[in-house]
């Protein structure tokens, strides 16, 4: 099995996310990357193209300063799925959510499609409102 991305790469990606290193995130995306962001909140929707995806992620980081810890990373040749744990408080409401980032990789190991989905979607919607 050729693991084009491994758990260490994902950890690095998460550190980049937590510290707002957009250059690191940009490198991992294919030019025509697509991001599907679940829910009914200010981030929800589909973003098409690396620039649009990076803009969306940068907006998320600047406005909400999200921070999360990796719970589990699943890897295959073509896909990654990261379970992470996000806790915090937003306008007096405590949340404790396990979002998942699911990714499909292209033949060059770049991320071509990303899904962001949470188990407690209403809690997550409050966070991203």
């Amino acid at each position: 099995m050729t693991e084009r991305l491994n758990a260490a790469d994902v950890q690095r990606g998460f550190e980049a996310w937590n510290s707002g290193r957009m250059d690191v995130l940009r490198e991992s995306l294919s030019e025509d990357a697509v991001l599907h962001f679940a829910g009914n909140n200010a981030m929800s929707g589909t973003y098409r193209g690396r620039d649009a995806v990076i803009d969306a992620l940068a907006r998320a980081i600047q406005r909400w300063s999200p921070h999360s810890d990796v719970e589990s990373i699943l890897v295959s040749d073509d896909h990654l799925m990261i379970f992470h744990h996000a806790t915090g408080e937003h306008e007096g409401t405590l949340y404790d959510v396990t979002p998942v980032i699911a990714m499909k990789l292209d033949a060059n190991g770049k991320v071509m499609e990303v899904w962001s989905l949470a188990n407690d979607q209403s809690g997550y919607d409050q966070f991203w409102s």
Binding site: N40, L74, S76, D78, A102, W115, L117
Partner: protein, 131 residues
Amino acid sequence: MAEHPNAALLREAISIFNRGDFDAYREYFTEDVVWHVGGNHPLSGDYRGRDAIFEYFETVRGLTGGGLRSEPHDILADDSHGGVFTQVTADRGDRHLDVVLAQAYRINPDGKFTEYWALADDQDAVNAFWS
């Protein structure tokens, strides 16, 4: 590399779901399982407990004439999590659904599902299909 036992478990469960054998499919769930159905449509929401979830599956079966199919592209797993990327197709009257779902599962040490959530690549299409 051999498939993780939980990946094999998911593959088997999905195949049983596709056959419509709900008695056998029930065995894969804990009694207090939580099933999160995302999106913005009449079936969206959290289903708590195996009975509630199977009522939901029966509703889906009724609306689609038992023709909803899930054909996995890839199944990922570790000892307590599963990830499935699957092509979901269904027909409902003149409506046709054909989307890729990213599905997340929590699996307990007995090999039973305790929690599930998912997102489609085209959630608007899913919303329109069930509305």
